[in-house]
Amino acid sequence: MAGSHFTGHNPDLAHHFENLDQQRQSSRLGMWLFLVTEILFFGGLFCAYVVYRVNHPEVFIFGHHFLDKSLGALNTVVLICSSLTMAWAVRAAQLKQRAILQLMLVLSFVLAGTFLGVKYVEYSHKWHHGLLWASRYAPDAHILAEAGVEVAEAHGEEAVSESIEGVPGDEIGLAVEALPVDEVLPETLLENAADSEISKIAPAAVGPAGLVTPEARAAAEAERNAVIVNPANAKTFFSVYFLMTGLHGIHVILGMIAMLWLLKLTRQGVFDGGHYTKVDNIALYWHVVDLIWIYLFLLMYLID
């Protein structure tokens, strides 16, 4: 059936098109539309990012200290280079330069692989220190101190006990307000921490003015400040971070598969006739993947 479907005179022209121009236009328009759906797909995540950023700006300011800017910048450079090599590949296909096309595809593939390698380094670092998405967010004291979180300067290092079942680490961290690790954690404070989990409704516990001692008020004040320094919903930042970069990573992998496919076609001589539409389309896709990363880098790593 497939054979009889393509009976045109030109082997590159599918039977249902009248000429190559119509065919090229169709696949070009199709690719652009597909890229629009890709942008909208990520658009949903960018929307979620904006909503949470507007509602909890402190979470994002807190979270971005833990991202390695230099690794992010390195990856940005790597991806921009790969975009360049892909563009060059398109040029080579147009000019029927098979050897250069092959070289550019290999280079792009290697650069994409480098990107994933760097990403792996970043991920494993976060994995190691418990900087994960909401349900598994449990940063260790070491990483908090390393990031120069103000909490550490003000009260000493963060001490997080993971021994309390069912209480996410950050909530404990929040209430404990960071004591030096070498100090023994007073039990009562830990208990207070547990309490903040039990009661979801904030206690209407501010009695008539005369009854709250100045010390108590100061303590409450300090707690509020601590919230800003080490926000309760910091885990949301890492959820958004892993979702966005993870989804982007999947797109990078898909792009690499497409490059391998192009490489195979090149070796078969498919592009020797100058019909470069396939290379062009994959390159377009790759530029979009690149562009999305640049936005991710700006929004997650750089913005204060």
Binding site: A194, D195, P203, A204, A205, V206, G207, L211
Partner: protein, 336 residues
């Protein structure tokens, strides 16, 4: 038999359901805004019926008048556009929907802005029941309200999304976990009305109902007084336990030995506690009473002085009941 059944059904469809004040379309109007909503409903209904009849009658007339006759072979050329006509039947609906929108928005503003003097009741939804907390701390499974007084509901959910719906009041608002939503109404007719959960919430969704009981003005206060005074009908220990649950004690004091913001009540009575100022006190009736009325006078070491006073908020018999309850938590009495 099926036919008579169907006929019976049709008759019942035409008649209004048997509760008082209901019409073919709407349940009884039992709140101040119901009349406004129903007026708009009927206004839109009028417009809709007019256009519906217009469309169907025109269609049927055309079908009869212009049906294809025997021997028809080909169509004559015909007019296929008329810009004036198009603009007319674009313009008229535009004008009508602007009017409908305006009325809808106007009455929505009335229903979403509670008056300043509204009586506030807290509503909590959970799978699959409602609880209503009155300003004095009393909690009920049904919603009792006074007639002719605005009532504002401050609502939240402890699990999934629910929606508080009283058809007779034309009031509906989602009850969302992790945030508060508000609704208000002013009941006009004493009586009992259904509360439904309108947002799907699982197995018992359709059984998550309760009643609003509207008390005639002047009778609500005495009812609340009586309902809140459950101490008269309970043993002091049971009454104390209920107070512990509904008056906010359990937010900070556990009864199983676990620590919260304040010391646990478990085996508390008779214990020697060291205080923040270094002194020691034995927990007895007097200490408990003092701690309720002047909580920050003698704070147990290791705790913050954050407890609000219950001076003027607990009556003597309530304090006695709480003391009885705390006494019973000795690990032996059978109480927790």
């Amino acid at each position: 038999m099926i036919l008579t059944g169907l006929f019976d059904m049709m008759m019942r469809l035409i008649r209004a359901p048997e509760d008082g004040g209901a019409t073919f379309w709407m349940p009884p109007q039992s709140s101040t805004i119901a009349g406004e909503v129903d007026w708009l409903f009927n206004f839109i209904l009028g417009i809709s019926v007019f256009f519906f009849v217009l469309i169907v009658v025109v269609m049927l007339v055309f079908v009869v008048k212009y049906r294809r006759r025997e021997g028809w072979e080909t169509a004559p050329a015909s007019t296929s556009h008329n810009t004036l006509l198009e603009l007319t039947w674009t313009g008229i609906p535009v004008a009508l929907v602007v009017v409908i929108f305006f009325f809808g928005f106007k009455s929505y503003l009335n229903m979403s802005t509670p008056p300043a003097n509204a009586y506030e009741i807290q509503v909590s939804g959970q799978k699959w029941n409602w609880s209503f907390t009155y300003p004095n701390g009393y909690v009920d499974q049904n919603l009792h309200v006074p007639a002719d007084r605005p009532v504002e509901l401050l609502m939240t959910s402890v699990d999934v999304i629910h929606s508080f719906y009283v058809p007779a009041f034309r009031v509906k608002m989602d009850v969302v976990p992790g945030r508060y939503t508000k609704a208000w109404f002013e009941a006009t007719m004493p009586g009992e009305y259904n509360i439904f959960c309108a947002e799907y919430c699982g197995t018992g969704h359709s059984d998550m109902s309760a009643m609003v009981i509207v008390h005639p003005s002047g009778e609500f206060g005495p009812w609340l007084e009586k309902a809140s005074n459950f101490l008269l009908t309970m043993t002091p220990v049971e009454g104390g336990r209920k107070l512990y649950e509904i008056r906010g004690c359990q937010q900070c004091h556990s009864v199983d030995g676990g620590a919260r913001t304040g010391p646990t009540f478990f085996k508390l009575f008779g214990k020697d506690e060291s205080l923040t100022d270094g002194l020691t006190v034995t927990v007895d009736e007097n200490y408990i009473r003092e701690s309720l009325l002047e909580p920050n006078a003698k704070v147990v070491a290791g705790f913050e002085a954050v407890m609000p006073t219950y001076q003027g908020r607990l009556k003597d018999d309530e304090i006695a009941a709480l003391i009885a309850y705390i006494k019973s938590l000795d690990g032996k009495t059978g109480e927790e």
